[in-house]
């Protein structure tokens, strides 16, 4: 059996957790690409190219950055918005982790218990998780890898995610801005965004703001 690689699916009816297949998390200053430990700088370049090359690049901000529970969270949220605008990428929130029944609204939200519904509905081919609690992110990343062909990336504030195809660790405002800078540099070098045209929806506590 060869070395396991964390690549886009659909992988299996129930894919294994990457950690159980021998994939280890990066140490500080490192990232991983498809399970291979790399210097963080290599991952910025890879992540930026992946997002620019996608038809439906999407960022999934989680509750740790959607809610202003401290000043750092607010700054991260601002940086994520600017990162999305620079690509451009859609923003679809994971506002919390409650199981949603009878169904979610997949064009407006993603839920860690059935994240594949949002991926399928919007035909998302590359995504970034950010601000999602680690356990919930790993659940969602593995389910996405199991049943969809979406290439997943994680910008984790803690130790990273081996269940993503690419993962940063110890993410800060500065690191989010560094990915934005990388995107802008690549665009100046002639790498064009392949994103299909879209209009970013807006949300309030009551739901979608029309118009």
């Amino acid at each position: 059996m060869g070395e396991y690689q964390v690549v886009a699916g659909p992988e299996a009816f129930l894919p294994p957790a990457a950690a159980s297949m021998g994939i280890t998390l990066p140490d500080p200053g490192q990232a991983h690409i498809e399970g291979r430990i790399v210097d963080e700088d290599e991952a910025y370049e890879h992540a930026a190219r992946k997002m620019l090359g996608a038809k439906v690049p999407t960022i999934f901000p989680g509750p740790l950055v959607l809610w202003k529970w401290n000043e750092k969270a607010a700054k991260k949220a601002q940086a994520i918005r600017e990162l999305a605008d620079s690509m451009p990428a859609r923003l679809i929130p994971m506002a919390d982790y409650r199981p949603k029944y009878p169904k979610i609204i997949p064009e407006l939200e993603i839920n860690p218990n059935h994240p594949n519904l949002t991926i399928w509905h919007n035909k998302i081919d590359v995504c970034i998780f950010i601000g999602v609690h680690c356990h919930q992110a790993n659940l969602a990343l593995k389910i996405i890898r199991g049943g969809t062909d979406c290439y997943t990336m994680a910008m984790c504030a803690q130790a990273g995610h081996e269940d993503a195809c690419l993962s940063f660790r110890d993410i800060s405002v500065e690191k989010i801005k560094k990915l934005q800078t990388t995107v802008e540099r690549l665009k100046k070098e002639g790498v064009e965004s392949q994103a299909l045209p879209f209009t970013q929806f807006r949300m309030s506590r009551q739901g979608r703001i029309e118009g």
Partner: protein
């Protein structure tokens, strides 16, 4: 896959939110564990295992401990009560039963506290439902299991069968050989189990009486130091939140909603727990001197593979075999049972022709674990075993090895 993780340059990672060098209300200095464990001067003390648990908890910056009496852990639980009276432990009370204790520990941990408790034997079994709940809820509670007999007719004496029940709960399971292991791993255990990518409970097991009630020389740091406080903001799940999993699931389990994806969520959840056990490997290396096993003389054709105090008995048996018979035997001490050091044991036993696994339980669970991961596992001799509180004289191990070599020895049956 249980892949081996290399030890080089691994350090204990500490939350950036804790203030190293700060004084606690008791005047202890919050110290980087890399410095506390490796650089701070240690002096010898002659203590029982129970007293060692007290010594470790005094330096553990502990928020909550919940106690319930059951031999042989009762003394340790009472000594932690002394620490509460002295102000080193922030909250301490007696639960109504072991089941209640583990539920109360969960409540405290859900709320963001560092929690420690102790149990043993039938207490472990009575509390059992809580252990996979702790793991599934990503609660980094530490329970010191002072192993004893579990079945009727009751025995309060040493027996490690209860560890077998803990192996697939999703907890980390370590097996201390000595009081020194116990001391070092209580403190180090918090540092491992509270890492955000691990964040699991730890069952720190030791053999009741042999470790808890015998005195040993233990090297301790000054109690002027303590480890950094638990940082709940690094938790991989939100703190107590009635609307979100894991708490939401306890009142409204999504598995009850019958559709494919909710079952898959539960399956994925289980996989994530065991993935977190795997992730603990690299964080455990700095705590366990760079490896989940310790080895001696691996070039020998006969090896003893053991955990807990069976290692000590094996070590003495090796001395007797060499001095009295000229038979050379090597040793593998397994420190972590979950995660299991699969690759390490495979490498260590690669050249062995016969592998003995002495154990203090009737079923030989460690021998099963070893057999399950080794090629040519007919090399593994599951024994000798003792149980129910029997001692395992080193001569019993010597006799077993000599029998396998076809060497007649004195009969030991009359010693029983």
């Amino acid at each position: 896959m249980n892949k081996k993780v290399e030890a080089q340059d691994k350090r204990i990672l500490v939350s950036e939110n804790v203030k190293l060098g700060e004084k606690t209300p008791k005047g202890q200095t919050v110290t980087d564990p890399n410095i506390l464990f490796n650089e701070v001067e240690r002096t010898p003390s002659f203590l029982t295992g129970s007293e060692v648990i007290r010594a470790a908890i005094k330096r553990a910056n502990l928020d909550v401990s919940v106690a319930y009496p059951i031999t042989p852990q009762s003394e340790a639980a009472a000594l932690i009560g002394e620490l509460y009276a002295e102000g080193y432990v922030r909250e301490y009370f007696r639960g109504e039963s072991e089941f209640a204790v583990m539920g109360q520990c969960a409540g405290a941990s859900f709320g963001g506290a560092r929690v420690f408790t102790t149990t043993a034997g039938p207490g472990t079994l009575r509390a059992m439902e809580n252990f996979p709940m702790w793991a599934g809820s990503r609660l980094p509670i530490q329970v010191c299991v002072t192993c004893r007999g579990i079945n009727s007719p009751l025995s309060i004496q040493p027996d490690t069968l209860e560890m077998y029940y803990l192996l697939e709960t999703g907890m980390l399971v370590w097996h201390a050989e000595t009081a020194q292991d116990l001391y070092d791993w209580i403190l180090g255990g918090f540092m491992v189990s509270e890492q955000p990518d691990v964040h699991l409970p730890l069952a720190l097991c030791c053999d009741g009486f042999f470790v808890t009630h015998t005195k040993d020389t233990v090297m301790l740091q000054s109690d002027e130091y303590c480890i950094p406080a638990y940082d709940p903001y690094r938790s991989p799940v939100p703190c107590m939140d009635m609307e979100c999993p894991p708490v939401r699931m306890m009142r409204d389990p999504f598995i009850m909603k019958s559709n494919y994806i909710s079952y898959m969520t539960h399956a994925s959840w289980q996989q994530e727990i065991h993935a977190a056990v795997e992730r603990s490997r690299k964080h455990t290396l700095p705590i366990m001197n760079g490896s989940l096993i310790e080895t001696e003389n691996l070039d020998r054709e006969i090896l003893i593979v053991a955990s807990g105090t069976a290692v000590s008995q094996g070590r003495e048996a090796i001395r007797l075999l060499e001095e009295e018979e000229g038979i050379k035997v090597g040793l593998v001490k397994i420190k972590s049972i979950r995660p299991f050091p699969t690759e390490e044991v495979r490498e260590a036993t690669a050249n062995a022709k016969t592998i003995f696994v002495p154990e203090f339980n009737v079923k030989g669970w460690l021998a099963r674990e070893v057999k399950a991961i080794l090629p040519n596992n007919e090399r593994v001799v599951a024994g000798p075993h003792v149980a129910g509180g029997m001692t395992m004289p080193s001569e019993v191990i010597v006799d077993e090895i000599k029998k396998s070599l076809g060497i007649a020895g004195p009969r030991l049956e009359s010693r029983g």
